[in-house]
Amino acid sequence: MKLTQQRKLRTVLTGLFAWTIALALFFPIFWMFITSFKTELQAISVPPSLFFEPTLENFEIVQERSNYLHHAMNSVITSFGSTLIALAIAIPAAYSMAFFPTKKTKDILLWMLSTKMLPAVGVLVPIYILSRDYGLLDSRTGLIIIFTLMNLPIVVWMLFSYFKDLPKEILEAARMDGATPWDEMVKVVMPLSIGAISSTGLLSIVLCWNEAFWSLNLTASEAAPLTAMIASYSSPEGLFWAKLSAASTLACAPIVIFGWFCQKQLVQGLTFGAVK
């Protein structure tokens, strides 16, 4: 086999492998989507049917039973609100750790990451009681605070990884021109890192949007986001897969569309630092 043929074969095989993984990842979403157009009986049929007469009945039921816009608005406000606060805290933190490291910087970073290793349920009771005492149960403010704290370690780490790869000479040049540390961060580092900041923000939004544990435990009606709406369609007695799929499709749609538009930034952000 010639070298060019070998290369072609490798490219085809790599492509095939990538497509297989992509399809495997996409399949549950695809199945959820088509199940949302089935009747409950079609949804449970064995073998499962790929071709069927689609119905919009499940979407009608979801619209009738749930206040979709209310839940969607809660999701938008809590995801975007907590991401903005997380970025406002994380950018100065990552900047100081990247450009003015001390002996303990690495320890602090590791400690921050270690908080993500604790199972959330381990702190459920204290957080629930604190939320109750401060009147934050079933409030968007409470959820924003929790989401911010939940994602802060990841946001700081991602920004720190990017900031530390920025050439120090640029900052030195700015300093020579009389820039203060604040000017350096706002007028030099942030414009240079706009891609990293936006992709980190996007990831944080996606994580908040999909968060279910705290949403289910700390909210009831006023602040319940879309994840709580989906959970309400699971039933202990009665068929619910088609209705649940319709609710999930409606809940996923905004963030999928949003991610679609921002995929360039997201991929760029997730792969920065991977190849130097």
């Binding site: 009986l41 629930y128 009681i129 699971s234 009665g238 068929l239």
Partner: protein
């Protein structure tokens, strides 16, 4: 300056008057936490009728998955958070929470007609003769079977057959090559899943969870016989993967025509006879649950009910809502609006006496018979100190039942023997009861 003062004063008076007027007409909002099932969804749809009749009260619904609901309402009530004004609870929670003073007594005065509520259901939701939750639907367990398959196999199913006869019918109907399994039963681990059914089987084999001194009895000969029978029958004549099947999975199998029979909650009757959901809706027969050594505790008793937490700030509005939602008038409203087959059953005698309901629900008689035959105060052959048919109404039971459920499910899937499973379950129960100070 004087004019300015006058203007300011008159403005202030107007604002105060507006605020007073607004507060006089202010709505009381009550939040109701509930589980997603057909009857509760209907209630949500009919809530505008309640709001129309009670203009000062606005109802907000929070629908949750059963496990999440239990976790949320327990957190709310134990921490006195006051997040919910009305909560959906079961027969397990009502007497325990009532005893602890976590729930308000249900106001049964006036035209509520508390004596119309089925006595077994009322008793299960009470502590010390005080009702702490009002039932909106009740259920027992019974046999649902395919009349066509049983007849074709030359067999018969009657009320209160023996378990051995049920196994023989399952063997005769079992035809896995054609996608039909003899019997479908719960196998998924959980005190409300496999252990609900398992406890009724064990009761009928003469077993009990605890003796008179609260010592766990899971290693008794009766439990061994019952669990061995269950594992053997379901392994031989059940669908593959039974250890992960609970109500919904078996409902799906039955409605697809893949089960010869299914023993589960009476509420299933309305689903398996619904042409929209079931391929076998016109071929289903019903019979009372089977027994072995005794008929006591052979079928379970459960009710979903509405309770009012002690910490609520809107107790009066909550009482008004609960009384409406569990009244005879509400059942009439559902019957008139959605048809009599859709009314919440298992709560009131008057429902079963209604000719329209009798006509619409083919399962009505079997359901009432099953509910009336269950007695939570006397569900075991040997004396036992606890209340409850398929559970023991003590706070420790949830953990004990869940562990036992995991063990029995393990025995069903073949990861351990029945003896090992019961030994582990008993050891765990013994430890928990000892720690809780029962002995």
């Amino acid at each position: 300056m004087q004019r300015l003062t006058k203007t300011t004063l008159s403005c202030a008076v107007s604002v105060a008057a507006c605020l007073t007027a607004a507060s006089a007409f202010a709505e009381t909002q009550i939040t109701v936490a509930t589980v997603n099932n057909g009857h509760m969804i209907e209630m949500q749809k009919l809530t505008p009728e309640f709001e129309k009749a009670n203009p000062g009260i606005k109802v907000k619904w929070v629908t949750l998955e059963e496990g999440v609901l239990r976790q949320n309402v327990t957190q709310d009530i134990a921490n006195k958070s006051g997040l919910y004004d009305v909560m959906t609870i079961g027969m397990y929670e009502a007497p325990i929470w009532g005893e602890r003073g976590w729930l308000r007594e249900i106001d049964t005065s006036g035209d509520y007609d508390v004596n119309d509520i089925l006595p077994s259901i009322r008793g299960g939701l009470s502590f010390d003769n005080t009702m702490y939750a009002a039932p909106f639907y009740g259920e027992s367990s019974m046999v649902m079977y395919r009349k066509d398959l049983v007849k074709a196999a030359g067999m018969e199913i009657n009320d209160r057959d023996s378990w051995t006869h049920i196994r023989d019918v399952a063997a005769a109907v079992h035809d896995p090559d054609n996608g039909v399994y003899g019997i479908c039963l719960r196998g998924k681990a959980g005190w409300g899943d496999n252990m609900a059914l398992m406890t009724t089987i064990a009761n009928s084999f003469g077993a009990r969870w605890f003796d008179e001194n609260w010592k766990p009895q899971l290693e008794s000969a009766e439990w061994k016989k019952a669990v061995s029978f269950y594992v053997d029958t379901l392994s031989k004549y059940g669908p593959p993967g039974s250890s992960s099947n609970s109500f919904n999975e078996n409902l799906a199998l039955f409605n697809e025509g893949k089960c010869g029979m299914w023993i589960d909650a009476t509420i299933a009757a309305s689903f398996v006879t619904d042409p929209k959901q079931s391929k076998v809706h016109d071929k289903v027969g019903f019979a009372q649950s089977p027994y072995a050594a005794t008929e006591k505790g052979a079928n379970w008793l459960w009710a979903w009910a509405l309770g009012i937490p002690a910490a609520t700030k809107n107790a009066e509005a909550a009482q008004t809502f609960v009384r409406w939602a569990t009244s005879k008038q509400y059942i009439d409203l559902v019957g008139q609006t959605n048809g009599w087959a859709a009314v919440p059953t298992g709560t009131r005698t008057s429902t079963y006496e209604n000719a329209k309901f009798q006509q619409a629900a083919v399962f009505a008689e079997a359901e009432l018979k099953a509910i009336n035959s269950a007695n939570p105060n006397d569900s075991t052959m040997k004396p036992s100190p606890y209340v409850g048919v398929q559970f023991a109404a003590i706070p420790e039971f949830q953990a004990i039942g869940t562990t036992a459920g995991q063990m029995v499910s393990g025995a069903l899937s073949g990861t351990m023997s029945v003896e090992q499973a019961l030994k582990s379950a008993n050891r765990s129960a013994d430890r928990q009861m000892r720690q809780a100070g029962y002995y």
